[in-house]
Symmetry: C2
Subunit: 745 residues, 2 copies
C-alpha cells in the first residue's frame, strides 16, 4: 500500500507563466492543466465503477435544482434569503445572482451595503469592465500627477543639500539638473520600449520576473510598493506644506488635514477608475498651466535684466563642497523622477490601441516633466532662491514673479491640489501591482478580488492604511520622508531595465542592438542613482526603505511557497485505480485490530465514495430536543453511530446511563468522565484515540448546536459546539457536522 | 398536520425551586423532570419501531469505544491529542480524563496552561470540593475584613459632613454613632436568623426570591452586586489613602498602586478559597489589634485628663445645622456597616456544622465592629479630631496617641493592608452570588462553571474588571465613591429582611412572633437608611448607584426570559407517535410539488431517523482534491447529492461544465452565475430557494475546507467555507458539514 506519489513538479513551476491578458472577474479561478484533466477522467471512471447502480439514487433529487418549475410559488417574503434576490433569465434557464445578492446575510450587512452604494455607487457587473478604460486626455492627468508634481519638491530638495555648503555651491544646481534630465530622458526612453514589449501591462515586477527570475521580480515589486506608499505620504505632506506656506495658521492641523486627504483619495478610488479620472483631471492641467506661466513670466523678467542672476542672500557654509555632498544633492533632486513607471503598470487601463496610447502619454509626460524641471531649476538660479524652512521654494518663486495677488494664490492652490492628487497615481498603481503579484501567488489572493465597482478594493484599502501609518509616524514632514524615497523607485527602475536588456538579447529581432543599448543605459543610470541614494542617505532614513524592501521580499517569497504547497496539496493525483486501496469491509465484522501501517498518512488520500469508511460520533451533554435531533440525523445516515457523554462525576454518569436506558439504548453510548471539568479537550482526545484505532476511518462528529436569534444572546451560551469545532478541525479525517436548532425568539 | 403543542408551562416555573445544596461540578447539568422522562420513553419506543433491523447496523462499530483492547497500540506520540492524556481505570473500564486534558488543543493553549499552573496551582478534581472549606478562625478574617475595615472610613465620612456646619456640630457625632450602632445590632441579629433559616447559603437574593418573588430578588441581587463592586473600589482607594497619608510622595502613583492591588487580589482568589484564607488572615488580626490598642491608649490618655474633650481647631461653618445635613452625616457613617451580609452568602464554605459556625462568626464580627466603631468615634470626639484632606482621621488619631514611631507605622500598615484586603470579601461574595443567579437562570451560565481550582473563575474575573473600571473612572478618590456606596447595600438589607418577615409569617412555628419582630425592625431600619442615603446624596452620586441597580435588574430579568425560551425550545415534546408526520417518500419519485402548508414551521420538529429527508448540496469552486473529497463524502452518504458551482461569468461556467463532463457527470450539477462577483450571499440565497421548495427537507451543505497548518497562513485564503457557514447557520433545516483537507506544511 504505497503512498501515491505527488505529481507536483519543482517549486518554480509557473512562477511567471504567460500572463493572463484579461483582468476580468473570471480570472480568479484557475483552470485545470492537461495533466489534471487526464487524472480527472481517471477519477471519474473509477467513480463510475464504484457507484454503479447507486448513481440513479444520487440523482433522484427531491427538488428542482433549476428552480424552474416553481417560479412563483417560492415564499418570497419569508426568511432572510428570499428568492427575490435572484433573476431567472427566461431562455437559457440559467440562474443569475442580482446585485442585491452581494448585500450579505445580516441586517447590518444590508445597512452597510446601502451606505456603500451612497458613497461608492451601485455595483458594476463584470461585463462593464471594458467601459472602465481611460481616454488619453483622462489618462494623462491621472497617471502623470505623481511624476509632474514631483517638481514641487525635487528641485527644492536638491537646493537644500547644496545650501549646506553655502551660497557658492547653489550654482552647482544647473549642472546637477542637467544630469538628472539626462537620466529622466534615458528612463523615459527605456519605459517606452517596455510598454511596446509588454502591452498587457508590465511594470518592473512583470518585466524583471519574466527575464531575470523570481527574486529580482520580488525585489523590484517590493521597491515599487515602498515607492507607492512613500509617494502617497510625501505628496500629501508636501501638498499640506503648500497649503501651510500660504496660510501659516493651519500648520498645527497638518496631520489631520493629510489624513483627511488620504480618506478622500480612498473613497474616490473605491468608486472606480472612470469617476476618478473625471474627478482628478482639472488640478493637473491647472498645475501644468501654473508652472509654465511661472517659468514664462520669470524668463521674461530675467531677460529684461539680461539673464543676470539675482544677488543671493548670504549663507554660511556648514559643510565643504565634497563629492559626497554633491552626490547627495543629486539623489535628492532625482526624486523629481518618481512616478514615471506608473504608466507601464497601467497599460491595460487605456483605451485601445492600449500600447500606442500609453506610449504617447508617456512621451508627453516625460516631455512636460523635463521642461518643467529644467525651467524651474534655471529660474530658481536666476532669481537667487534659497530654500527656507517656513516657505517652499516654489512659493518664494511665485511671490517673486506674481507678488501676493490672485496669480500667486492660483499657483499655490494648483500645487497643493496636484500634490494631494499625485498620491492618486499610487492608488492606481499599487492595487494593480498587488493584483499582478496575487495572480502569481506572491500576494494574498484577496488582492485579486475585484470589488463590485471593478476596482481592486483590497489593494486600495491596504495602500491607504500603509500610507496613513507612514504619514503619522513621520508627522507629515516632507524633509524626513525624502531620504526614504528614491531608494525603492530606483531599485525597481534598475531591475526592469535590466530585464529589458535580457529581453532584447533573447529575442534579437530587428533593431535589437539599439533597443538593448537604450535599456542598458537606462539600467546603468538607474543603478547608479540607487547606489548614490542609498550610500549618501543611509543613516538619514534610507535604511528604513531598504528594510521595508527586504521585509516585503521575504514575506512575498514565503507567500508564494505557501501557495505552491497548497497547489500541490490540491492537485489531482493519478489514482491507483487498478486496485482499490481500502477494500470495503462489511461493517458487521465489528472491531478490527489496526494493521501495521500508520493510519494517519492514508486518511486524507483521494477516495471514491465506496472507499469512505464512516463512523458518526455524537457528543451529548444532556438529552434534549437538540441532542435527539443530532442523534436522529446521525442515525439516518445509515452508518455506525457512537454517542459520547462527557460527565463531570460518576454520579452524573450513572444518572445519564439511566436516562439512556429509559430512552431505549438505541445507539451505543460511551461515557467519558472529566473530574477536572474540562469538556472540549478530553472529548477531542477521545475522538483522536478512536480515530487512530483504525486507518482510513472517516469520523463524522455530529454536533448539536443551538442558534440564538439575537447576537446579544450569544454570551449566554457556552458555545461548546464552536469550541469543539475549533479543537477538532486540526485532526485529519474528522468531518464536522453541525445540526442546528434555531430558537424561535 | 398540526404543530405539536409546546408543553412548557408559564414563565415563572421553577424560578426559585428548592436550592440544590451541592455546589459541585455536576450541578451545571440539569436533570430531566418526570414529564420529560415520560416523553423520552415515548420517543425511544418510536425510534425502536422506526429503526427496526437497522439498529444492528448502527451498532456495528468499526472501533472499540472503550479503548480497552488497544491500551498500548495507540500511537501515543502522533498528533496533538495523544492518548497519553487519558487514564483508564483498570477495574471499571471507565474512561477518565486527566488534568492534562484541560490544557487545550493548540500549542499556545498548552503554554498558557503551564503559566496558569505556576500562577494558580495545579487543577483540583471535583472530589476535592469538600476540603476547600474554611475553619472559623480562617473564615473570620476572610469574611470580616470588609465589615471591620469600614471603620477606617465610616467615622471620618460622618465627621466630614458634620464639619460643614462648623466645629460645634462635631459633637453630634456621638448621638449619630449611637443610632448607627443600633442599626448595626439590629441588622446583625436579623442576619443571624437568616443564616439559621437558610443554612445552604442564602444571601439577600435567595431570601428575597423565595419569599417575595423574582423582581425583589433581582433588585436585592443588583444592590449587592453594585455593593460588592464598590467595596473593592472604595477599600482599595481608602487603603491607598492610608499609604499616601504615611508616605505623601506616593500620591501621584495612587491609581497604578490600586490597579496592582486589584490584580493581586484577582490572582489570589483564582488560586482558590483555602490559600486565600491562609494568605489573608494576618492583616485582619493585626488591624483588630491595632484598633483596640489605639482605643485603649487613647482612653487611658483621656482618663488622665478626666475625659474632658480636647480643644478643637476652629472651623468656619459652611452650612447651618439642618436636618438634611445630620441625615447626610448619618448615611455617610452608615457605610461602616457594609460587609455584614458577606457571611450569609458564604455559609456553605464553612466547615460543618456550617450554620452554627457561620452564626458564631457573624456574632463575633458584629461585636468587634460595634466596639471598634463606637470606640473610635468616642476617641475622635475626646481627641478633638477634625477631618482633613491630606491625612486620614485614623492617621491623625494614631499620631496623637503613638507619635510617629513604629507603633504609628504599625497602625498605618495594618490599616492599609486590611483595607486592600477588605476587597477580598467582595471577591468571595460576588462570584458566589453570580453562581446562585446563574443557577436560577438570572446570569449567564458561564458564571456557574467552577474553574479547575474550584473557584468560580469567571465571576472573580468579572468583579476585578468592573471594580478596576470604577476605580479608574473615579481616579481612586474615596470621597467621590462614598455617596454611591450605601445605596446598594441597604437595598439588599431591606429586601432580605422583608423576605425573612414573610418567611416567619408563612411558617409560624415556635417563637415566630419574636423572630418576625426582629426581622421587621431590621427591615424597617435598613429601609430608612436606604431612603436617607438616596435622598440626601442623590445628586452627589447616588443616582449612579441607582442607575446601575436598575440596569442590572433589567439585564438579569431579560437573561432569565431568554433561558426560559431556551428551556422550552429544548424540552422534549410528546410525540405524535400514532401517525408519522412525514411519510417516507421514495427518493426515486423525484421532484415534488410542495404542499400548501408553510414548509419552514415543520422543519425542526422532532424527528426520528426514518423521517429525515436528505439532500446533500456540495458547493464547488474548482475541481481539485478538496472538492472531490467533499463530493465523495457526500456521495458515500447514500442520499441525493447536488453540486453547485458559482461562476463569475458565462465563459467560466461553460469551462466548468466541460470539466464536469470530463469527470463523468456522476452527480447533478447546477451552475449559478454571479456577475457581481459575490459568492457567499447568492449561494445562501440559492440554497434557501431549494430548501423552501419542499417542506421538512434536511439540506446538508457539504463544504470542502482547507485547513492550514500555521495560523499566519490563514489570511492567504479567502475563508469561503467560514463565511458560508456563517451565512447558512441562520437557515432552519440546514446542516453544515465541513470536510477538511489538511495542508501537510
Amino acid at each position: 500500500m504505497s503512498r501515491v506519489v505527488n505529481p507536483c513538479v519543482g517549486e518554480g513551476k509557473g512562477a511567471f507563466a504567460e500572463q493572463v491578458t484579461d483582468i476580468g472577474p473570471g480570472s480568479t479561478i484557475a483552470g485545470l492543466d492537461d495533466d489534471e484533466l487526464v487524472v480527472l477522467r481517471q477519477v471519474g471512471d473509477h467513480w463510475g465503477r464504484a457507484l454503479g447502480p447507486r448513481q440513479a439514487w444520487l440523482r433522484a433529487l427531491p427538488i428542482d435544482p433549476s428552480l424552474h418549475r416553481f417560479p412563483r410559488s417560492l415564499p418570497v417574503s419569508r426568511g432572510r434569503f428570499a428568492a427575490i434576490d435572484f433573476v431567472e433569465t427566461g431562455e437559457a434557464g440559467a440562474i443569475v445572482a442580482t446585485e442585491h445578492a452581494g448585500a450579505g446575510a445580516s441586517r447590518s450587512g444590508r445597512a452597510a451595503s446601502r451606505w456603500r452604494r451612497v458613497l461608492l455607487g451601485a455595483p458594476l457587473a463584470g461585463s462593464a469592465v471594458a467601459h472602465e478604460r481611460m481616454r488619453k486626455l483622462v489618462a494623462l492627468p491621472i497617471l502623470s500627477s505623481d511624476a509632474l508634481s514631483s517638481v514641487a519638491y525635487g528641485p527644492e530638495a536638491m537646493l537644500a543639500v547644496l545650501a549646506l555648503a553655502g551660497t557658492g555651491a547653489l550654482g552647482l544646481s544647473l549642472g546637477l539638473s542637467l544630469a538628472i534630465v539626462v537620466v529622466m530622458i534615458a528612463v523615459g526612453l527605456s519605459y517606452r520600449q517596455l510598454i511596446r514589449a509588454y502591452p498587457h501591462g508590465g511594470g518592473s515586477y512583470i518585466v524583471a520576473g519574466k527575464n531575470l527570475g523570481e527574486l529580482p521580480a520580488l525585489i523590484a515589486a517590493a521597491g515599487l510598493m515602498t515607492d507607492y506608499t512613500l509617494t502617497v505620504a510625501v505628496s500629501i505632506s508636501s501638498g499640506v506644506a503648500a497649503i501651510t506656506s500660504a496660510i501659516p495658521g493651519l500648520t498645527p492641523a497638518s496631520v489631520p488635514i493629510g489624513l483627511a486627504a488620504i480618506a478622500i483619495l480612498l473613497a474616490g478610488n473605491l468608486r472606480g477608475v472612470r469617476q476618478a479620472g473625471a474627478f482628478f483631471s482639472a488640478p493637473t492641467y491647472a498645475f501644468v498651466l501654473a508652472m509654465f506661466g511661472l517659468i514664462a513670466v520669470g524668463l521674461v523678467d530675467a531677460s529684461s535684466r539680461g539673464f543676470a542672476p539675482a544677488p543671493v542672500v548670504g549663507l554660511e557654509p556648514v559643510e565643504g563642497i565634497t563629492v559626497l555632498l554633491v552626490l547627495r544633492a543629486f539623489s535628492s533632486g532625482a526624486t523629481a523622477m518618481t512616478g514615471i513607471e506608473a504608466i507601464s503598470n497601467a497599460v491595460p487601463a487605456f483605451q485601445p490601441p492600449t500600447s500606442r496610447n500609453a506610449r504617447t502619454v508617456l512621451t508627453l509626460i516625460v516631455g512636460l516633466l523635463v521642461a518643467m524641471f529644467a525651467g524651474l531649476v534655471v529660474l530658481m538660479h536666476l532669481d537667487g532662491i534659497v530654500p527656507r524652512s517656513d516657505e517652499t521654494a516654489l512659493s518664494q518663486l511665485a511671490h517673486h514673479s506674481f507678488g501676493s495677488g490672485p496669480l500667486y494664490a492660483f499657483v499655490q492652490v494648483a500645487t497643493a491640489l496636484v500634490l494631494l492628487l499625485a498620491a492618486n497615481t499610487a492608488f492606481n498603481g499599487f492595487p494593480r501591482l498587488l493584483s499582478f503579484m496575487a495572480r502569481n501567488g506572491h500576494a494574498p489572493r484577496l488582492f485579486l478580488r475585484l470589488g463590485d465597482r471593478l476596482a481592486f478594493s483590497n489593494g486600495t484599502i491596504a495602500l491607504a492604511i500603509a500610507a496613513a501609518i507612514l504619514f503619522v509616524l513621520f508627522a507629515g514632514r516632507t524633509r524626513a520622508l525624502i531620504p526614504l524615497y528614491a531608494v525603492g523607485v530606483f531599485v525597481a527602475f534598475s531591475f526592469s531595465q535590466a530585464g529589458m536588456v535580457v529581453h532584447w538579447w533573447r529575442r534579437r529581432d530587428e533593431h535589437w542592438r539599439r533597443n538593448m543599448l537604450l535599456n542598458a543605459v537606462g539600467a546603468a543610470l538607474s543603478a547608479i542613482v540607487f547606489v548614490i541614494a542609498t550610500a549618501t542617505k543611509f543613516s538619514q532614513g534610507a535604511w528604513v526603505a531598504l528594510l521595508l524592501v527586504a521585509l516585503v521580499v521575504l514575506i512575498t517569497w514565503q507567500i508564494r511557497r505557501h501557495y505552491d504547497n497548497v497547489h500541490c496539496a490540491l492537485a489531482l493525483h493519478p489514482l491507483d485505480v487498478a486496485a482499490p486501496r481500502h477494500p470495503i469491509v462489511p461493517a458487521s465484522v465489528g472491531v478490527h485490530v489496526p494493521d501495521g501501517s500508520p493510519a494517519v498518512d492514508r486518511v486524507e488520500d483521494d477516495e471514491s465514495p465506496d472507499e469512505v469508511k464512516h463512523l458518526a460520533v455524537v457528543p451529548i451533554v444532556r438529552l434534549d430536543r437538540s441532542s435527539l435531533r443530532a442523534l436522529a440525523y446521525a442515525a439516518s445516515l445509515g452508518q455506525p453511530v457512537l454517542a459520547v457523554h462527557m460527565s463531570p462525576s460518576d454520579d452524573e454518569a450513572a444518572r445519564f446511563d439511566d436516562y439512556w436506558a429509559a430512552w431505549g439504548n438505541h445507539i451505543p453510548l460511551e461515557v467519558v468522565t472529566s473530574p477536572y471539568r474540562a469538556l472540549v479537550a478530553p472529548l477531542a482526545c477521545y475522538i483522536n484515540a478512536l480515530r487512530t484505532q483504525r486507518g482510513g476511518l472517516t469520523v463524522t462528529v455530529v454536533l448539536p448546536e443551538l442558534i440564538v436569534k439575537h447576537r446579544c444572546h450569544q454570551p449566554l451560551h457556552n458555545g461548546t459546539a464552536r469550541r469543539l469545532r475549533r479543537a477538532l478541525r486540526r485532526q485529519p479525517g474528522v468531518v464536522i457536522t453541525t445540526v442546528p436548532l434555531h430558537l424561535p425568539t
